[in-house]
Symmetry: D5
Subunit: 95 residues, 10 copies
């Protein structure tokens, strides 16, 4: 089941840059694993922003919540979730 | 080059339903052709709305504009375009 | 799987009142059937508005879209869908 | 009398994590008691957010205010209250 | 129980002025009766707008909905309801 | 002359709780005096929020500004002022 | 007493142009008279819009409402009223 | 003097397409003349929208208003004007 | 040339009160000088807020920017600039 | 390929002024180089704000992101990117 997730990362200017960098590296590792498992289907960066758009393919909203809330940078994220479904005009029915 | 496009279709309640249906069929044909050409990369429906999210892979903003403004339902669309780029954490670099 | 749906019904002032009344009756029949099937779990009216809040229990966003878009008053509805999950502090895990 | 309450918890990044954790545990205890008393009728988490949607069944807006403002995490909550009533199309008149 | 109600009346420019005038007169009659019954506690006009702010004293959100939705100009109203309670600093506890 | 004032109090999480408590007590004293003088005509709390709605009866916007800006919690307030007037349908012309 | 009034005129595209022109002429006559009486203290046009900003000097919000609601183009106006007062740093205390 | 102007053209679905087309042609002629006079310095289309961003170089806000309000499609335009000035970091001081 | 400027002053609660007071006094001195030069044509306070509305009469947007950005409290200001022009219905053409 | 970029710089009041000044100087140097390379086509300041509007001419959204995210003041910037294309009515086709 597909969810469209818009993530805006807002790092406060007085956060510890070392901690943010470390969390960012952990984040990339976690994102890689989730992509390899097929849970994190697509991941794009929004040009000009510290933001991304993702498509997740999960079993349920509960699994989506578990994934998102365990991301290392989650405490700094503003997250918007949108439930998606097959479009009748889409020719690729499996993505 | 990738663009994220959110399209909300607002059909006025006093539009001619026959004309809207005809435009919808033309729209599906046009969407199919553009998907087969690889221009319209992804197409999902937003659950509960007459709206969709698409990813277009085009040569330029000008080509994107030409594609969107020639869609049969374009006069009824509210369109939001967002320029996207590769995310450093994405493992699939070609989509 | 639970979705929270806010529905605001906006009937244009020049719509045919007879048609709206007829659609409203069909809507009640459809809502009754969906409640009896356990798909439409909760349905409340927002005080002072022609709007309601519902909880749907469906298989997927696609089933939710199918249900919502087939409601008789759908053409006049503004719909906001929010994916919900179990709250760790909820004592009733089955609703 | 039913109220729909949307609660968004915004913990500042420089709050003491130990204190937040302690408040979160107190919150769960309080939520459990209020659910057992039948005051806190429903409680769901919004997928992807540190937010929840609840339905409260209380005697008055004053009782609702007393309950909400005494929650341990209240100082970090953004709260939206909506007064609800029976929907004529609802088949379950007692919830 | 007190509710604060903001009502904005939006008459479409192509509505029949005679009908609007007739509805306005019915509205004043209905407002007078409800004030005399003590249901419609306060009624003020917003300077410069076809809008008003009211305080209703009713048994429940359901009674409030019944009153508002039966107002003659209701089809043209945008309504915002806010549940109110006693302020600890108010010296007049009965209004 | 009547003004409708919506006051939202936003206390920063790192403010000194003792100072806020002291300011709150001063605030209640000031509010009581202004109510007794007939300047602060009505005062209600918004259910679920650290916010209130008030009706002030003052000589001029200048007097209203003087009153509001001298409130002990003013530095933490977001204030929205709306000028009100008699509604032709109100039966009580003196409040 | 001074009020700042932002007026945005929205003429529907299917309004009768002759009627709008006639109302515009009446509006100018009325604005001239009110300026000569000293009620309509300042009147500027917002560059690029069918909108204006005015300062009114009136006895009360009620007088302001009476003036605004009797303007010939009032049915097409969106009006925002802001109560103003002397600024301690203003050197001209009489305008 | 430079002004940044965002123009969104909203053609109502029941406008006469012939009239809109004729106005569009007149608009292009007028835009061409103003560009040749150096008044309309830059003109770009927003990808995916019936909207454009322009830079005007005019004597005053009054001249800008005169130009914009005389455009053939002006009655269908939503216009946002922003006053611009030289940026200290710009190397081209004459554009 | 006239510009309408809305200034909202937001002093962070942890700013040094002595510094703010000193800046406020400098601000009044600067405002007085600019009024005497005829640059700062009007200055009003918004009732209930730490905000003001001003009309500036300057040579260009660049001069306006220079004036505003040199105000002592500028670092705490949210500023909205609107370009104004003569209204055809204004009888006083010189202000 | 042209992108319109609105940049609002929000410096927190407790940032180190020396660091901000140093970053501002680095920013000007970087902006100068990018203008000389023809990447940063236009750069204007918004009157009254610490904000600017720019037109970038880049190969792709990815290049735009790389440029923006490497600007010295980027951590304090709110950035809005809009993809632009040739307007059919523009007489200068090369800018």
């Amino acid at each position: 089941m597909l969810f469209h997730v818009y993530i805006n990362v807002r790092v406060p200017h007085d956060a510890d840059p070392e901690q943010i960098k470390r969390l960012g590296e952990l984040e990339h590792g976690r994102a890689k694993a989730l992509q390899e498992q097929g849970k994190w289907l697509h991941l794009w960066r929004v040009a000009g922003k510290f933001a991304n758009v993702s498509i997740f393919d999960v079993e349920s909203p509960a699994e989506l919540h578990e994934i998102l809330s365990s991301l290392p940078l989650y405490p700094f994220m503003e997250v918007e979730v949108t439930a998606m479904c097959q479009h009748p005009g889409a020719i690729n029915k499996t993505e």
